[in-house]
């Protein structure tokens, strides 16, 4: 689906369009479709080589304008899902390393805990938010 190819077909409570898999991966298409489950029924079908047909059928009555907006929102969400996939893939190994280090390294005193405690102590010492005062006490109590 490129800008020139967002061709929609409207019918009663239904909008239909196609997405080009060479532009958007199938998991991006499905990830976008998933987010529409609370507002419409979603049908996906492969209608040609690397072409996925999307049919959105609203739960109640909808005007042509509303149906067109639904397709537009889907198209925008495709872009955001594609970006999220890129962010995930570009950082996959880094995330695995961070998770493994956080969860599976040996137990012991955490240097960050010590640092955070020191920072907390420093901030509390000059804290104009009265954070050390228990929240249920009025300031100055």
């Amino acid at each position: 689906m490129t800008e020139n190819q967002l061709t929609t077909e409207l019918a009663e409570r239904r909008v239909r369009f196609q997405v080009d898999e060479s532009v958007y991966d199938l998991d991006v298409i499905m990830g976008s479709a998933y987010l529409f489950l609370d507002r419409c029924y979603v049908f996906l079908d492969r209608v040609g080589d690397r072409r996925v047909q999307v049919v959105l059928r609203t739960r109640g009555a909808a005007s042509e304008e509303e149906l067109g907006a639904l397709a537009g929102q889907f198209a925008n969400e495709l872009l955001n899902q594609a970006l999220r996939k890129q962010i995930g893939e570009a950082n996959g190994r880094l995330r695995e390393y961070i998770m493994a280090r956080a969860l599976f390294s040996a137990d012991g005193p955490s240097t960050i805990d010590r640092l955070l405690a020191e920072l907390d102590a420093e901030e509390m010492a000059s804290d104009d938010l009265d954070i050390p005062v228990p929240w249920e006490k009025p300031p100055g109590a």
Binding site: L35, D38, N76, I98
Partner: protein, 506 residues
């Protein structure tokens, strides 16, 4: 859940952009990291960051770097240690052990989840022998913090079991040295002066149900007697509170806590409900939506509502609570404080229903009156409705190891690890949210459920979106000031019985 933001995935600097999740709040882009820290940026700045065009000399660069968003300038090990602290709850076993002493109850609340029976059904009382096995079993769980919570039915209808469990647990803990917490969830209508003094002597904390002013409370919580449930409950709350004060305890920590459940009758009465809590000296109110299971399945048409209606109620009431705080009346909203602790502090409050993975079977266990062990109290209710899926064993025959490694516990963990769930894995609130598979199961018959259709997802998303909305519009810092105070939870003194501030003979 959709993202109303124009982005161009082609302009993505993969060597400069670290991992983050994003969404849009009030026209600004909200970015969150793996440990719940956040940053608001303008859409144009967001797009510049994605394209690798934010220069080191810009203040924005440092703001992004400090939250681990800059891939080629990231303190990776520091982030890992923060994540380790945030997920500290994974290193402990079940700390909450709910004991159903009986299913008997003298109330017939419109929304009851507890699978109650009539007061003459004594065959649903727990025996002392079973109670002893429950305590023995709980003490073998690998947790330094051990909490027993008496539930029902109305738990005080089987008072001898409460007495036995408390005394036996205290005696056993002389050798086990765990941090022991004891609490009673009761409608207080069977309370006596003698029982009250005994509970205070033993350091048992009390939590009751209070749905608001008298007419609202009594409408929701039908009692077999002709008296007002509200009058009896509030009278006992006042007596307990006075007793703790008389013995020299800090009233801010030692008072009867209460839970409220929102019905259709509550929706336009938020401020009145809050005022009722303030009058009773309660400093925390949890605005809990109704769950359409238990009795509520049958009464849903009468007392139910949409999640949009609940969220409107929540926002109005939270605004009122904030206004009270600005005027020096200190009361917090509990769900907000849970999320704010995740958002604004290095810690996670370990709230079983809102963590990843969830705490069913791993942070809490429930023991039915007959000694059957369930993942939690909702799991027990599911069994009462005819489905044993959440049964983990029995105190007569099961070991702790068998229970904690039960396939159901593993399945519930898998179904609630947000990094692996559709929609959750990329949701901007993922690192501060949680999934409760049992709710999914109750609603959809499927522990995974579908996020956009889940009432719990709509609730958690709506509440967090509103909290970030308030933070993003907090021009004078007054909201942040109040919110940060809500994240400070003073715990009551540890192992019971508690040492009072000043000894007063009881």
């Amino acid at each position: 859940m959709l993202t109303p933001l124009q982005v161009d995935p082609r302009a993505f600097a993969k060597d400069k952009v670290g991992y983050f999740r994003y969404g849009v709040v009030d026209g600004k882009v909200l970015m969150t990291n793996l440990v719940g820290e956040h940053l608001f940026v303008e859409p144009d700045d967001f797009r510049r960051f994605l394209a690798g065009q934010v220069e080191r000399a810009e203040p924005l660069y440092e703001a992004l770097r400090r939250r681990y968003f800059v891939k080629d300038d990231m303190a990776v090990d520091e982030l890992a240690e923060k994540l380790r602290r945030k997920k500290a709850f994974l290193r402990h076993g079940p700390h909450l052990h709910a004991i159903v002493t009986t299913l008997r109850c003298n109330h017939a609340c419109r929304y009851c989840h507890a699978s109650r029976t009539d007061m003459d059904a004594v065959d649903t009382d727990m025996s002392l022998d079973t109670a002893r096995k429950v305590v023995d079993f709980a003490f073998t769980t690998p947790t330094p913090l051990l909490g027993f919570e008496f539930q029902g039915g109305e738990p005080t209808a089987n008072w001898p079991v409460i007495e036995f469990v408390v005394d036996y647990a205290l005696e056993k803990n002389r050798y086990e040295h765990k941090e022991l917490l004891l609490s009673l969830v009761s409608n207080l209508t069977l309370m006596t002066d003698e029982k009250m003094r005994w509970l205070v002597d033993k350091g048992v904390m009390v939590c009751t149900s209070l749905d608001g002013p008298a007419d609202l409370h009594d409408k929701n919580r039908g009692w077999m007697e002709k008296q007002s449930s509200h009058a009896v409950v509030t009278a006992w709350m006042d007596k307990f509170n006075a007793e703790w004060v008389r013995r020299g305890f800090d009233a801010d920590l030692f008072h009867v806590d209460a839970l409220m459940t929102t019905t259709r009758y509550s929706l336009d009465r938020g401020p009145e409900i809050v005022d009722e809590y303030v009058r009773r000296g309660i400093r925390s109110i949890h605005l809990r939506p109704l769950n359409p299971f238990g009795f509520a399945v049958n009464t849903w048409k009468q007392i139910g509502y949409s999640m949009d209606e609940f969220l409107a109620f929540y926002k109005t009431t939270l605004d009122y609570i904030l206004e009270l705080n600005r005027r020096g009346v200190f009361i917090q909203e509990r769900l907000a404080s849970i999320f704010l602790t995740k958002m604004l502090t290095p810690d996670d409050p370990n709230y079983s229903d809102c963590r990843s993975p969830c705490g069913s079977g791993s942070a809490q266990l429930a023991y039915s009156y007959d000694g059957t062990i369930y993942t939690d109290d909702e799991g027990r209710m599911a069994a009462h409705m005819g489905n044993d899926f959440f049964k983990l064993g029995h105190v007569d025959t099961s070991s702790v190891d068998e229970v904690l490694r039960h396939p159901t516990v593993k399945a519930l963990a898998v179904a609630s690890i947000q990094e692996a769930l559709p929609a959750c894995h990329s949701c901007v609130f993922s690192s501060t949210c949680g999934v409760q598979p049992l709710h999914n199961y109750m609603f959809d018959g499927d522990i995974f459920g579908q996020r956009p259709l889940s009432r719990k997802c709509q609730e958690f998303y709506g509440v967090q979106a509103y909290l970030y909305h308030l933070l993003s519009n907090d021009t004078d810092g007054s909201v942040q000031r109040i919110f940060r105070r809500w994240t400070i939870q003073r715990s009551r003194p540890g192992t019971t019985p508690y040492a009072p501030a000043a000894e007063v003979s009881s």
